[in-house]
Amino acid sequence: MELAEPARKSSIWEKLSVERIKIELLRTAYGQSRTFLSRFDPRMLIGWYSFFAIAPWFIHNKTVLIGMLLAIAVLTYTSKPSVLVFIVLAFGLVTDTAYMLIVALAFGGGLPAALALSTLTLKLLVIALASIAVFSSMDPEKLSDALLSLGMPAQFSFGVAYGYRMLPILIEEYNNLLYSYRLRGRTPLRKGLLGWRSLVYMGKISILAFYPLILNTAKRTRTTVEALEVKGFTYAVKDPKVKRIKLAYLKILPRDYAFLAISAIYVAFLFWLGNQYTL
């Protein structure tokens, strides 16, 4: 695990280096086990999340949406997500808003039309923040067990946990492959306007480096598949007893019901409030 500082004099690269992304991803995945949301049963959380991921699409009342946003923003704050996730989110929002403004102005709708479109932004924001809050509070193991418990195939839920386990190794390897390109390649002699040639160069090798990564991974998988066979995984998939033993630790406690109840009351209150004062 090394912090890389790729190109010279470019602070943006330092912030966005592969190494940096790896650290942030791992923090998001495994970093915090003690947040407010992590105390609840993962199955309950998935249920709770699916409401906040789907319901906003059918709500057009801005009062309700803003109310939801406030509550979820607080929950997101308690789950201490990584800065990188926010950067990505902010980037999405800014481009989204800009795009809507341009569309609204270009087609003669003017500001009122842009304002109307902003409801969509609000919906997206609620959904995005709910995802961040839930998934950065739930480690991949719990997520995978919850999925298994909710009736997903064992191969799929295993895949989720295994994917996360492989992630740091794959990123490390990707980084080294990228270094291989850099250590034998050559940056463009002229940087071009705003360094666009350098950007194209970096973009090109960033994509090229995926090919050797895929080949290396394919080669590695043979041992993994043999090992899964030896460890009896293929037999466990067919055995309901294994599923029962594995998931025995998942229990829905009174606090899970309490959390659901409070959420339901809050949402009901928002609808009442929305009827009184529509924004």
Partner: protein, 588 residues
């Protein structure tokens, strides 16, 4: 088909087994008959491609259940033919730790990994079984560690624990030394010994490091090309067959080689040679007691040629490191001052995490110092990109597969020159390929080559860059002896073209044979900067850096020979001289 159960029944028995992989042109195993008894500690040795791994995959039923090739003969495990049982059933009897053990670990933490197999078999007490396995290996403290944060040795331990969780009778370990540094390999062997002695497990290792075989195993199977078993002997007998082993490209322990060269004539036919340092010290204890002054004959090699003038690389008070998952900066190098001169052949040694790779990355420009300054041929690395520095520095990674970025190895070798749009490079490329014996292989993808061929390719890639300085990270890791010898010879090719070479390594043989300057690192600092002879005279420093001196150097220490001989040849020359002088004194 079940054999009669008796007291003396072998735990594993092969009856005239022949196997061919689907689509292969030749048999991988040919008429193998072999019995392994309960409580054995047995080594399977043989050159590359002699079917060692194939043999061991018969033990746990992967062959023929998983690989459906052509199989004749029968394999019995605990008296029952494997053909009648599934791989999963068999894994309760036979556990397998793969050579690339990292890919065997499928769960996020050590504890999860250990519990995984018992859980899959539906044991209610799977947690207890997992913990038991960790307890047997005394690694309970690792239970909550993430797999990806473990060192290589710890990962191997985790793979072993996972294999132990089903409480098998037999444990098969495929080349434990190949991927680990010598100190960690010894730790693994100590654990295997513990499992064998305290818990009565039968241990089968695939191994060609004969010094480990001599120290830990009791029996030895020698495989030869075509997948035949040449013989099964006790380890003492087996390792004494020096010429036969050499023929198979297996290097007997250094003390055994020395004995073979010195005492062949006197030894009685069929007598056993010394195979461990203890035995050798006993044998030569009297002969070498007498003080012999060291002579210039072999002292000259030690003097390193420090040429005057501007150093090629200069480190001034360099601090560097990485950022942890908690976003805290963790310094790896703490104040390094170092100059590398023309003509230096530097071996950079030290335990894992000592900062060797970080140091190499600083020279290549992949990483910048947090504080201090690194200058390469007069250029400040903070003001240059790795692309610019690659005109001067070639950096060969530890894992060759991370260097194969083109469609075939010829294109990999050309990549650097093509990127610089150089014309008329064909003759030069042809020459490099020929020198590294890659002409035949040039159209192949690097990933599909053997370990030794992959290393040769990375060296060729480095050479085609015509660098001033070459950096190599663990170039001899996971190579068999023959490929290692070959690689050391190829290093001599570098000498004429490259002004300085830095090799980070655990391979003390390479240190003794090749380096003219040795830098020992520990906890981000330079402990010692000296030549290869002096470094072995500091056992305390070697200990701190988790290094083990070559056997012959250790023997010299035992016998009080100073300065120590660095190679078997030097030792033989020394002993012959000692004998001659004794003769002279005797007459006089």
């Amino acid at each position: 088909m079940a054999l009669q159960s008796t007291e003396e029944q072998p735990i594993i028995q092969l009856d005239n087994v022949t196997f061919r992989y689907p689509g292969a042109e030749a048999n991988s195993l040919e008429g193998v008959s072999l019995s392994i008894y309960r409580g054995d500690f047995i080594a399977i040795a043989g050159s590359n491609g002699s079917g060692k791994s194939t043999l061991c995959k018969c033990f746990n039923g992967l062959i023929p259940t998983y690989y459906s090739g052509d199989m004749e003969g029968t394999v019995f495990v605990d008296g029952i033919a494997t053909a009648e049982r599934s791989v999963a059933e068999l894994s309760r009897n036979v556990a397998y730790v793969f050579q690339d053990f990292e890919n065997q670990l499928v769960r996020p933490t050590v504890y999860d990994e250990a519990c995984f197999a018992p859980l899959n078999f539906g044991y209610e007490d799977y947690k207890e079984r997992g913990m038991n396995a960790l307890r047997m290996l005394e690694i309970e403290h690792l239970r909550n560690e993430w797999i990806w944060q473990l060192s290589g040795g710890q990962k191997h331990m985790a793979a072993l624990a996972a294999a132990l969780a089903l409480d098998p009778d037999v444990i098969v370990v495929d080349e434990p030394v190949a991927q680990l540094d010598p100190a960690h390999a010894r730790v693994i062997y100590e654990k295997l010994k513990l499992l064998n002695e305290r818990y009565g497990k039968t241990i089968v290792v695939i191994e060609h490091h004969t010094e480990f075989i001599a120290d830990y195993c009791r029996k030895m199977v020698l495989m030869e090309r075509g997948g035949r078993v040449r013989w099964v002997k006790s380890v003492a007998e087996g390792l004494s067959a020096v010429s036969e082993l050499n023929e198979m490209n297996i290097q007997p322990p250094q003390v055994t080689q020395a004995f073979h060269a010195l005492c062949r004539e006197q030894a009685i036919e069929g007598a056993l040679y010394p195979i461990t340092i203890e035995e050798a010290a006993l044998h030569w204890g009297s002969a070498a007691k007498r003080e012999l002054p060291s002579t210039d004959a072999y002292a000259s090699a030690a003097s390193s040629s420090r040429s005057a003038g501007e150093p090629l690389v200069r480190f001034e008070g360099v601090i560097s490191g990485y950022q942890g998952i908690d976003r805290k900066k963790k310094p790896i190098l703490q104040g390094i001052d170092l100059s590398i001169h023309e003509g230096d052949r530097i071996a950079l040694i030290g335990n894992n995490g000592a900062g060797k790779s970080t140091l190499l990355r600083l020279i290549s420009g992949l990483r910048r110092p947090w504080e201090g300054k690194v200058t390469v041929c007069g250029r400040d690395t903070r003001k240059s990109t790795p692309e610019e520095l690659s005109d001067l520095v070639a950096f060969l990674f530890q894992n060759p597969e991370e260097m194969f970025i083109a469609d075939n190895i010829r294109q990999d070798v050309e990549y650097f020159l093509r990127a610089r749009q150089q014309q008329g490079i064909e003759p030069f490329i042809e020459d490099v390929l020929r020198r590294f014996k890659l002409t035949e292989l040039q159209q192949r993808d690097g990933r599909l080559l053997s370990g030794g061929q992959q290393r040769r390719t990375t060296l060729a890639i480095g050479m085609a860059m015509r660098p001033t300085i070459m950096l190599l990270d663990e170039p001899t890791a996971s190579l068999d002896i023959a490929s290692r010898k070959e690689l050391t010879l190829l290093f001599d090719q570098l000498r004429d073209e490259v002004k300085a070479v830095v090799v980070a390594t655990h391979d003390m043989q390479l240190v003794a044979d090749w380096a003219n300057r040795v830098i020992v690192m520990n906890e981000g600092r330079i402990l010692l900067d000296t030549d290869s002879r002096t470094v072995f005279q500091h056992p305390d420093i070697l200990d701190r850096a988790a290094l083990v001196a070559p056997q012959i150097v250790q023997l010299c220490g035992r016998l009080g020979i100073e300065p120590a001989c660095l190679s078997v040849e030097q030792f033989i020359a020394y002993m012959e001289r000692a004998q001659r002088e004794e003769l002279v004194y005797g007459i006089g």
